[in-house]
Every structure is written in structure tokens, then in C-alpha cells.
Subunit: 507 residues, 2 copies
């Protein structure tokens, strides 16, 4: 049974998706200065540890554009551990299986705090089991940018894996043998960290032509033999699914989008990288082609599928905060309609308007959902952390139409529950659940219910859908959990929307 | 006779070009928030005055990329005056003759403070005559960016004249019928002002392809029939001089650059837009072509002459903070090797390194110079303000070789004086004075004296050159000045390097 959570013990409790307007000022980092003769070049990371210096208790930040091909985090933490550093806070925008060595650093207290937006693999498992000294702070991608800009996440040293750099610290991710595409998640780190260390394997003559992160914020440029393996960017499938159930869900979702009235010239769209999400794009593409609809932009993590839609003229622009495959990397390098944006411009709730605010429609996933349309994408049905919001809550809050697609029954368990393990995205920002059995529309959206009815789409209430699921698969047993909090889930505005408990593990 | 100046009455007195490291933090503006449904579009400036609202005593900022073709400043100040607003501070990066209506606003106290980096025309004359209630704060282009970033110049409302905008506030200067090129001087204003108002005559579909200033900092987008006349960008000549004395000076300067050893592959260069400055580029171009030298970049205000050198492959990049003619505008729009930078990246002394730090050589002008190599570019020989540092002091401080070119005798007066009317750029950052009679090298630069001697360049000491000038033209009478301070000249680091007094005017 889920414990009663006293969220206010962990910060200001969530009050509603738009109920906490900002009251703070932006973070005000120390002003820096470089004499004209200063050189920023260093040829190893140890020199950086000595020179800054990096000391116990510091916050080191990293970005995740290399995804499961990243090697910089492990290199830096190995040095930290060898030097006997303790109590570091690691602010890594997402954690992947490649970061498994971090578990040892948790155990020896080299790392005692972790801030991230998503985690999977051994680190997520270790966190779930309580190996890290303190609860992980889990944010959204936009919320991380906000936390950095507002000073909630103060970064002592930002490390930026830069596929190409010049000696004065101008950086991009699109050139060089290890090009990873957008560096968008590192933009806030570069802008607000006390010290910024760029790490590159490809140094080019000054000045770099295409500058994603400028020299004005970069203090050191370290050259290393390798910063990561871009083949690791592609984690999982980025091809349209062939599963017939997922295809039916995707087809229904596309029909819902069409019925919403939003699918017309200027349509702005975001979807995930998985095969089921891409299947929605696949169906939309057919409609857009048939009706000669030209969308304004597709947003988010960018896949080759969206690149092909750009190249076919079905979207005017791609807006890219991270590349999900090498087609996306190539397109960002060569296509002027493929725009790179930072995490704050992508999704922060607290600036003069991020791109998610301009979305017509976003298609998102869920591991669980309750009848209030609250979504869990942090924990799996076993209570273990296996993901995180990423841009989930951000896009849901921004888009005019937020659709969650999911198999109603997954692993023999209904995804609809009375109570979900972790609330990631509040139901007030979710409009439609699409499953293989039809659509359930948030009762707030009477306009959508009317439109979907008029088009004859198969609808039922969320309660009816939950009953149907339970008729098929039964009511699942609640997960047994301990009272140890292993992660705090922060909503994009900085309020605390939920916490994650360590599950009870039967040995 | 020049009065003895107590600089510390106006701020921290200048102590040396690199003697005042930063101790402050960056400015921390209030965090903003826009709901997804908010619209930023307004169809007139009056709505902005009402909505913000703009009130007495506020600081309104503007940029000068339209130069003498600007119309936004006059439009905004006309509204302010009609509304009876008083005590406004105008932070306009440069003031041109087109801004003459501002004089009336000085007189009726609508405007009581002015911050600028350069001024010419009726406003400069009025300021010199003491019409403005308070001394003008004169900064360098890099110093203005620093002052904004560090909070010394707090901007309530930044107005940005944007030749092209989308409805959510993404802006550029390179597209549309009134394209003016780079918007670099407006970057700090957009980043740190409390409110940012973009004003455009060309609204395009969201999202703009080439984004110079992003939506995340822009609060309103106002559409107006006209924001300026790009033909006014070209103020004065941007063609190579045909004057034989200026050509001799330019030739000597080019020979000095060649003799310095800096003119080789990777050469980084800045020069002004005037005919004499371009003549130096003209001679360098010949040498670079003859010796197959490819420079890395040319910097600063960009002219068609530098564009042609880029297109000929004599430089790898142009780095552009403002366009000086329509060829520069066209090139920035179309050539990926022509980079737009903001004022802080161009020239601020207080960040992790601005582009001026990477200059090999800059060629600058002077209205006067003393035997310590201190340069005046603020006041003319009559004591009236007729210019300003712009990027003069910034480039001088950054470049490895700073050359001042000037006719030794101008208007029958020697440019070398025992005491100059206004110190703009400190002599420690100036290496060589080139006149039609030869070179005078700063004694600090024994390396240059050796190199120039080895090449047989005509040299004399600065004292010898001053004596020569006085032999030809006599010792000029000092200008009679009152004790009323009409302008304070701030060095790029925020210290006060000089003040300007109102000259005595014989009626």
C-alpha cells in the first residue's frame, strides 16, 4: 500500500500545474574575467581538478546527449574517486545503463546526491534499493533549466562533452567524428555554472563556425582522446512499431488529433522516440500528405522519422533539444530549418515563453495512470524507478492537446489504477488516454468529447476503461513499499508533486 | 585650460586597463512566466505604455543598428513626451543626427539621463552645451554590455527594433524589407532588461528560422508600419579613401602590421568603417593575396570591403556586431562564415573571454593623442562631443597590436598634445601611432621597435613627433572650458577614466 506522503517535508507541495508563479530572481553567478593572453586549453582532466580545484561537496553537472554512449561522466567520477573526493552532487540531465560505475561511487560516498530528469539501468535500480545516501531529486527537462536559472540547482562545475570546440571555448555538437547533435540540455549549465569545463576530442581553428555554446561562458577546454560513442545515442528502437495493438492505438491517436481540429496548416507537434510514438507520426504523415497540410514544427528529441517529415515538407521546422539518432545529428548539421534550442527555451515554465507553449499536440507514454488522468512515468509496476519525466510534464502543460497512449493491459496488469505508484504529470494537463479499446477524455475537455463524438471515435469514461481493464486482468495487488524515500519528484515549477519509496524486496 | 578632475566624485577612478578585476555578481532579473495561451502581439506602442506601464524615472534602452536611419527612439520618446512622462533615462548604444528630436525632450525634462557609447549631431552638441539635466554616461560597447550584465545599468524596458519577428518574439535583423544585419548590441538588453518589447514591421510565421534574439526574453511584439530606414545605416563613406596623405598613412600602417610578424595564417583583424581605416585593409589585402595568407577573422562593425575579403577567402570568418552597409547585411543573411555576436561576446571585459581578446591587430582613429599614447575619440578640438569610444577602448585592450592612424596635422592643428581634452583609451593599450610622417611606437613595446627598425620603417619617438607637429602648426591654444561636467567617460571595466566639461562658448 502506498504511504501517505507529506510532500511539504521535501519542499513546497504541488498545488496545480499553473498555480505557483515565480517569485524569485534569476541566479546571479560571479562575474568572470579573462586577460587577453590567457589560454583555456588543458590536456587532461586531472589538471582541472587541481586548478579549480574540485573539492568535497561540490555540484558537478553533465548533460546526456551521448545517452548510452556517454563516457565523460565515468571518466570524471573515476578521477574524483581516485582522489578520495566525497559528498559530490551529480547533476546529470539523464542517467543510462552506461553510467553503472556510478553505483560504486554511491557506495563509497564519492557521490551522495544525484539530480536527474530520467534514469534507467543499474543506477536507477541502485537508487530504488536505497544505495544512494540521499533521495534523488528528479526534475523535468524544463524544470531542470528553471532550477538552474533560478538558483535552486547551483552548479559549481559544469562539464560539457563537446564533439567540436575551438581553443577559446566555442562549442557545438554537430561536427567532428563523435557528433551527437544538439547540446541543448547543457545550455543552462554553461550559462549559470560557476565554472564551465568543455571536453572535446576535436579541436578546430578559432573561431568555430557554428557556435552552440559560446566562449563567453566556457573557462577551460580539455582535449581527450574520447568523449563518448555516438552509436550509443540510439537507445532502443527509433523505428515505427509493427505490433498490431500498438498500431491500433497509434491509429486511434492520429484520428483523435485529426478530429480535434488542430491538424491544419501550422500544426505543431511533439512525440517520443519509441516505436509506438513514431507510429502516431506515421499515421499523421499520411493525413498531412493526403490533405496537403504543412505543420509549423515538430519538437523535442528528434528522430530520423521526424527528419524525413521535415525533408518532405510536412513541417517547416524541427526544434531540437537532443538527437535520438544519427539522422537527427546529420540533419541538424546541414538543414537550416532544423533548429537547436536550449532546455530553457524548450520547456522551462519560468521565462517569457518556452517552445512547449506553442505546441498544438503532444503524444506521450505512461507506465500507469489513475482516473484523475495523473500519469506515472517514473516507476514501473514493481515500484522500481525505470524512467522519469524528461520533457513529459513540460509538453503536457504546454500543448493544447495532450494525448497519452498506452496498452490498457501491459505485462498482464492494467495500466489504469486507483492509485499510481508515482505521480509524474498532473491529470489537469492530460486530455486524452488512448488505448487499444478506445479513447478516454478528461471530463474538463467537453470540447474534445463533442468533437470526438461527432467523428464517431470509440470513447468511454476513464472509469469505464478502468473497469474494463480490471474485468480482463483483475485488480492488481498494491506494491509493498518501505517508508524510505529514495527520490523526490519535482514538478516543472519547483513544487514537489510526489516522492518515490523504496519497494519492499523479497529475498 | 583643462580643469583638474576629481574622478572619484563620479565613481571608482581608472587605475589601469586591467587593474580592476570584477568583484560583483551578474545582474539577477526577476523570473518571468507566460501561460501557454498568452499572446505577446500588440499593434501599437501606446498599448505598451499602458500595459507595462512605463512611468516617470524609468530606464528605456535602445540599440543603434539602424544608425542614422533609426526611427524607433523618436517614436517612443514622442509618446513619452505626449504622455507627460519625466525623468526618463535613455540607454541608447549610439546616438546619431536622426535623434535630434531628443534635444526637445532634454529641454522639457522628459529625458534627464542619457547612457551611450557614441554620439554625433544635434544631441551631442546639445549635451556639450549643457542642455541635458545630468551628465551623460559614456561607455564602450563592451563596457555597456558589462554594465548591463553586472547590474550597473539596470534597464526597465528594452525596445528592440527587429526587422523580422514571429509572434512569440523570436527576432532577427537579417530578413525583411528593413533588414539591418546584426542585432548584437541589443543582446544584453534582451537578456537582462525587466521587460523586453520587440518592435517589427515584418511578422512571419512561428518559428522564425534564424533566431538572433529568442522568445524566452521577449515579452511583447509590437507591429508598426516602420521601424527605420536601412539606407540610413550607411553614415559617411565606407569606401577606401583616395586622399594621398591618408593612403600614405594606411600604407605605413600596413607595413607596420607586416613587420610585426602577426600577418600570417590565422591573422585576426579589426578596423573601422571610414575610408582611411579601409585603406589599411586595402593594403593588407594585397599582401595577403601575394603571400597566400588566410586570416582567421575580421571583427567589429562590418563593411562591404571586409565582406569581399571574406568572399575572396582572405578571412575564414567575419564576426559581426553591427553592419555598416547593406553588403554586410546581405552577407550576414547568406554566408555561414559570417557570424553574428552580441556586444558582450564582442567586447565585454568581464566574462570568460570576448572576441577582442583574440585580435592580433586593430587599427583605430583618434581626434587627439598625448605623449603617453592616451587617445581622445570623444571630443573634438573645440571641446564639443563628436563621437565616443564605441569599441575603441575594447579592441585596443584586447589586440596584440593596437595601431592608431591619424593625420599629424588636422584642421591646421597638431593631433599630438601635452594634454588632450578627454582621455578615452588609455595609452598602455595603444602600441603605435602612424601619421603621414612615420611611426611612433609606445616605448613599452621594445619588441615592435626592434622589428620596425629591422624593416627600415620610418620611426621617431612620440615626443619627436609632437615637436615636429608643433614646428609645422604651432602649439595650439588650450580650449577654454567651464567647470560644468556634461559627460562622464567610463572605461570598459566600469572605472571612470575622464569627464567632459562644457566648453566656454563665445557668443
Amino acid at each position: 500500500m502506498k504511504n501517505q506522503v507529506n510532500l511539504s517535508a521535501f519542499g513546497s507541495a504541488f498545488k496545480g500545474a499553473f498555480a505557483t508563479p515565480p517569485t524569485s530572481n534569476r541566479c546571479a553567478p560571479k562575474v568572470k574575467c579573462r586577460l587577453p593572453s590567457d589560454s583555456k586549453l588543458r590536456d587532461n582532466l586531472e589538471a582541472i581538478f587541481d586548478e579549480l580545484p574540485i573539492t568535497n561537496g561540490m555540484t558537478l553537472s553533465f548533460h546526456h546527449h551521448f545517452r548510452n554512449g556517454d563516457s565523460l561522466v565515468n571518466q570524471v567520477l573515476d578521477i574524483a574517486a581516485r582522489r578520495g573526493l566525497k559528498q559530490l552532487r551529480i547533476a546529470l540531465s539523464s542517467v543510462f545503463p552506461v553510467h553503472a560505475p556510478m553505483v560504486e561511487h554511491f557506495k563509497n560516498q564519492t557521490v551522495t546526491h544525484l539530480d536527474t530528469d530520467y534514469m534507467s539501468g543499474p543506477v536507477a535500480e541502485a537508487v530504488s534499493l536505497g544505495v544512494l545516501a540521499n533521495p534523488v531529486m528528479m526534475r523535468t527537462h524544463g524544470g531542470r533549466a528553471r532550477a538552474i536559472e533560478c538558483g535552486d540547482l547551483h552548479i559549481d562545475v559544469a562539464f560539457i562533452a563537446a564533439p567540436t570546440a575551438d581553443a577559446y571555448g566555442n562549442l557545438n555538437g554537430t561536427e567532428g567524428p563523435t557528433a551527437c547533435g544538439s547540446l541543448g540540455y547543457a545550455f543552462p549549465d554553461a550559462e549559470y555554472a560557476d565554472k564551465v569545463v568543455a571536453v572535446t576530442d576535436t579541436l578546430v581553428a578559432y573561431p568555430l563556425q557554428k557556435i552552440s555554446i559560446p566562449q563567453t561562458r566556457v573557462d577551460y577546454v580539455v582535449t581527450l582522446p574520447s568523449i563518448g560513442d555516438p552509436k550509443g545515442i540510439v537507445s532502443g528502437t527509433t523505428k515505427v512499431t509493427k505490433d498490431p495493438v500498438q498500431l491500433r492505438i497509434a491509429s486511434l491517436a492520429a484520428q483523435a488529433i485529426e478530429a480535434s481540429g488542430l491538424l491544419k496548416n501550422g500544426f505543431a507537434f511533439q512525440t517520443g522516440a519509441g516505436g509506438a510514438s513514431l507510429a502516431v507520426a506515421h499515421y499523421l504523415r499520411k493525413v498531412m500528405k493526403a490533405q496537403s497540410i504543412v505543420g509549423s514544427f515538430a519538437l523535442g528529441g528528434i528522430t530520423g522519422y521526424l527528419v524525413s517529415m521535415l525533408e518532405e515538407g510536412l513541417f517547416e521546422r524541427l526544434i531540437d533539444v537532443q538527437g535520438f539518432d544519427l539522422d537527427a545529428v546529420r540533419s541538424l548539421q546541414t538543414n537550416p530549418n532544423h533548429l537547436e534550442v536550449g532546455a530553457a527555451m524548450y520547456a522551462s515554465p519560468f521565462n517569457s515563453g518556452s517552445v512547449v507553449n506553442q505546441l498544438d499536440c503532444v503524444v506521450l507514454g505512461a507506465t500507469e495512470m489513475d482516473t484523475q488522468f495523473n500519469v506515472n512515468v517514473v516507476t514501473g509496476s514493481n515500484g522500481f524507478i525505470m524512467g522519469g519525466s524528461g520533457g513529459h510534464s513540460d509538453a503536457a502543460a504546454g500543448a493544447k492537446l495532450t494525448i497519452v497512449t498506452a496498452n490498457l493491459i501491459r505485462g498482464r496488469l492494467p495500466i489504469l489504477r486507483d492509485e499510481i505508484v508515482t505521480i509524474t504529470t498532473p491529470g489537469e494537463t492530460v486530455d486524452v488516454l488512448v488505448t487499444e479499446y478506445g479513447l478516454a477524455v478528461n471530463p474538463r475537455r467537453t470540447d474534445l468529447i463533442e468533437r470526438f463524438s461527432a467523428c464517431g471515435l470509440p470513447m468511454m469514461t476513464i472509469d469505464e476503461m478502468k473497469t474494463l481493464a480490471e474485468d480482463i486482468a483483475g485488480v492488481p495487488e498494491p506494491i509493498a513499499m518501505t517508508d524510505k524515500v529514495v527520490a523526490v519528484v519535482e514538478y516543472r515549477d519547483g513544487s514537489i508533486i510526489d516522492v518515490v519509496y523504496k519497494p519492499e524486496v523479497k529475498i
